[in-house]
Each structure stands twice: as structure tokens, then as C-alpha cells.
Subunit: 127 residues, 2 copies
DNA sequence: CACTCTAGCAACACATGAAGTTACATGAGA
DNA sequence: TCTCATGTAACTTCATGTGTTGCTAGAGTG
């Protein structure tokens, strides 16, 4: 599949797609080929890759909208609050990643197909 | 204490302080008085207010930097991923708030005083 | 060999939201 | 009535993520 086609499907831009896919390629989840007939191909088993793997392949972007605005401070109040918060945030981050680590792409794939079937046979829901 | 003085201590602007303190006032944690001799006064017991209370008084701003970019979508893949993620995010949010709910301002206050003592008697640490 | 199609990449432009700023109104004491 | 303070709206600035353009390089076609 070309970046162009993916971008259309995702309502975004081919360059954005390449940026994201670049991370996935570095980790061997996808493969890309240049030139005529080129594009992206899957190169991993869906049941061996998790949301956590994807997150980390994407360079582990910031998870939280809150947190210390500076690591070092002269202010003892700020220090006390930072310590209290960063302990919680670290624990919660670990939990979140652990949960993401249990969600495989295969599971999402299966979920998608279930939704697809449901959409094509909506009458079943009305019984 | 005036917004002006607080702003200096926090390296910010009096108006920003008023915006934040406004939330705390609405919940009765602080009291403000206008005019000469006015400013902010504490009006709660520090051991009865938690970080979670503060967070909610500040109108519960976004916690996560990740998440659904749109609630409704036509895309079944997006739907599947959103469902998987929002389940995790909801659980993790609950955990985070629970933890914040256990951190009282009194505890932070005590922690601060401990740091203050340590700073004034640093020789103790070298024994 | 020229042409087209594709990814790779850097640099720039735009959008969004948080934080900071200005200006003015209101209320309280001197 | 003057000064000092909060209350608030409107505007500006800044940071970050997203989108866009322009160019390079590689790969197949005719």
C-alpha cells in the first residue's frame, strides 16, 4: 500500500504517514519499497505485536498532559509536589503500558472483523 | 497574601494566579477579599483536601496527551482501537485519581517542612 | 535513456491550546 | 476621593503537534 493511499484512508497527508511508518519500519513491523510498484508491506505477525510495541516504535510520545514543568527547582514546595506526583505518574504509566502490552494487533484485527460482520448483518441486532 | 505576591513566588502573573485561585475559591478551599488589605486566605483544613480535590477544583483539565481524536467515527478500525484504548485510559484515570485522592495537602506540607529542616541542617546528612 | 512512480527527508507553514498580558470594572479601606 | 486589591474579558505570545512544499534518490516501464 502506498503512503498516498494510506493518507487518503486516514484523512491525512502522505508525509505524515511516512513519518509514522518510519518508526514502525525501524522496528521491523513494516517494510517499504521505493519506486514503481513500491509502498508499504506488513512484515510482522499481528499476534506478536502489541499497542505498547507500536507506542514505543513511535518513539514513546508524551502520555500525560500533566506533570513537572521543570525537573530541577529551587522551590521546596514544588519539589515536594513534584515528588508526590511523579511517583504516582510513574506507577500509572507502568500500568498503562502493561495494559497496552496485552492488546495485540491480532485482537484489534479480530475486533474489526466482528464489527464489519455486524455492519453487514444489522438485522441480527433487531431480533 | 495578594495575587501579586503569589505571582512573584510562582514566577507568573497575578491574573494567572486569580484564574487558578478562582477555582479553589468556588470549592471553598480559599477565600478572597477585595480592596485595601485584601488578598487570599486559606479556608480549609489541609488534612481534608487532597491533590484530587485540587485537580477537580481546577476543572479537571485533560490528564492524557493521548486518546481519541474524535468520539464518533465511520471507520471501524478507528472504532476498534478507540474502544481498546478508552477502556485502558478509563481504568488508569480512575487509578490516578484514587492515588491523588490519598495525597493530602497536610502531607505535602509536612514533606515541605522536612525538606526545609534538611536544608538548614545539611551537616546531619554527612555524619 | 527518458519517464513515471514511489519513499526519504528537511524546512517551512498552520492550527490548537495553554500561559501570559493588558485594560478596565468593582469593592474595600485610609 | 484616593489607593489597593480582586474579577473578568479580550488580546497576545509561546509551545507543540500536524500539515505542506520542495527536493533527492531509488526502482520499474517503454
Amino acid at each position: 500500500m502506498t503512503s498516498e493511499a494510506l493518507a487518503r484512508a486516514l484523512n491525512t497527508n502522505p508525509v505524515v504517514v511516512r513519518r509514522l511508518m518510519g518508526g514502525l519500519r525501524k522496528h521491523g513491523y513494516v517494510h517499504s519499497e521505493k519506486g514503481y510498484g513500491g509502498g508499504w508491506t506488513l512484515s510482522c505477525q499481528l499476534d506478536r505485536v502489541t499497542l505498547r510495541d507500536i507506542y514505543e516504535a513511535l518513539d514513546a510520545p508524551r502520555l500525560f498532559a500533566i506533570g513537572n514543568r521543570s525537573e530541577k527547582t529551587e522551590c521546596l514546595v514544588e519539589e515536594a509536589v513534584n515528588d508526590a506526583m511523579s511517583g504516582v505518574l510513574a506507577d500509572v504509566t507502568a500500568q498503562l503500558l502493561a495494559r497496552f502490552g496485552q492488546i495485540t494487533l491480532a485482537a484489534l484485527h479480530a475486533d474489526f472483523h466482528q464489527r464489519l460482520a455486524a455492519r453487514h448483518a444489522p438485522a441480527m441486532l433487531c431480533k
